[in-house]
């Protein structure tokens, strides 16, 4: 049986793991770090990916969570003033040096954030890489804030790494898992 053509007609690499559903590709835990960088180039067989971040707690109470992308495997991350656009309900930016995923995360007892980021067609150098983040933030008063953010890297390029960082202060702790959509 001929392999199904992949991007630009190239044969899709044979992968014994391929099958319907999600495949866990990588996972990690971060404690007191300046950022969390996740390289994606080893997973080019998966066109779309899902990054799940659990129990993210910032060092600074009320810090925002940002994301940036890379096209050189994580050696450098794009941070130009007009590299990104993002939009959430009621806020957004068409020209920014980061993607604001969550505007404010508390770090008190029981607080923190969880989010699921879908990364679309990261392997296609002909289109802007797009992502969709679904976020939930909890506070010690048992209120929750839910948001959805759509964002793009404003350049046609392959995206092969993503960075999560705080607007200020370190990331005190977070757990993450990366999945590939089959």
């Amino acid at each position: 049986m001929q392999p199904k053509p992949g991007f630009l007609g190239f044969p899709k690499p044979a992968n014994p793991l391929l099958g319907p559903g999600l495949i866990k590709l990588a996972e990690g835990e971060a404690l007191n770090v300046a950022s969390i960088d996740i390289a994606l180039m080893a997973y080019n067989a998966w066109r779309d990916k899902l990054l799940v971040v659990s129990s993210l707690i910032p060092q600074n109470d009320g810090a925002s969570l940002y994301a940036r992308t890379s096209s050189d495997g994580g050696s450098s991350f794009d941070a130009g003033g007009s590299d990104y656009g993002y939009q959430s309900l009621g806020s957004g930016a068409t020209s920014a040096s980061f993607i604001e995923l969550i505007p404010s995360i508390g770090n008190g007892a029981g607080e923190g954030a969880a989010l699921a980021i879908e990364l679309f067609h990261t392997t296609n150098p002909a289109v802007y890489t797009k992502l969709l983040a679904r976020n939930i933030v909890s506070s010690s008063t048992v209120t929750t804030v839910v948001s959805i953010v759509g964002a793009l890297r404003a350049a046609a390029q392959n995206t092969d790494a993503i960075r999560l960082l705080s607007s200020s202060g370190n990331i005190a702790s977070a757990f993450w898992s990366l999945y590939g959509f089959n």
């Binding site: 996972e27 835990e29 971060a30 007191n32 960088d37 607007s167 200020s168 202060g169």
Partner: protein
């Protein structure tokens, strides 16, 4: 707040493993954090000024109504007057 490299963690987490940052990298991160906080603080002040400006341009009746809506602890006479305003018959 002005951050310095001592405020920055000694490492990034790269693919689940900590990778040490150089002093230059930590300096750059500290500078960005300081700039972000300064920008956010300016935006907050601007938003607060906008609110005050809008309030200053309201009529007396609008102010009473706004105070009663925004402040659940507003004095009862203010709430009563606001309720009358809301009905359109102050």
């Amino acid at each position: 707040m002005i951050y310095t490299k001592e405020d920055v963690a000694p490492a990034r987490n790269v693919n689940g493993k900590d990778v040490a940052l150089s002093d230059a990298e930590r300096d750059a991160i500290a500078a960005e954090w300081s700039a972000n906080e300064a920008r956010d603080s300016t935006m907050s002040r601007t938003a607060e000024l906008e609110k005050k400006r809008a309030f200053a341009m309201m009529s007396l009746q609008e102010r009473v109504l706004a105070e009663a809506i925004l402040d659940p602890d507003a004095p009862q006479p203010v709430k009563d007057y606001a309720a009358e305003l809301a009905k359109g018959s102050p």
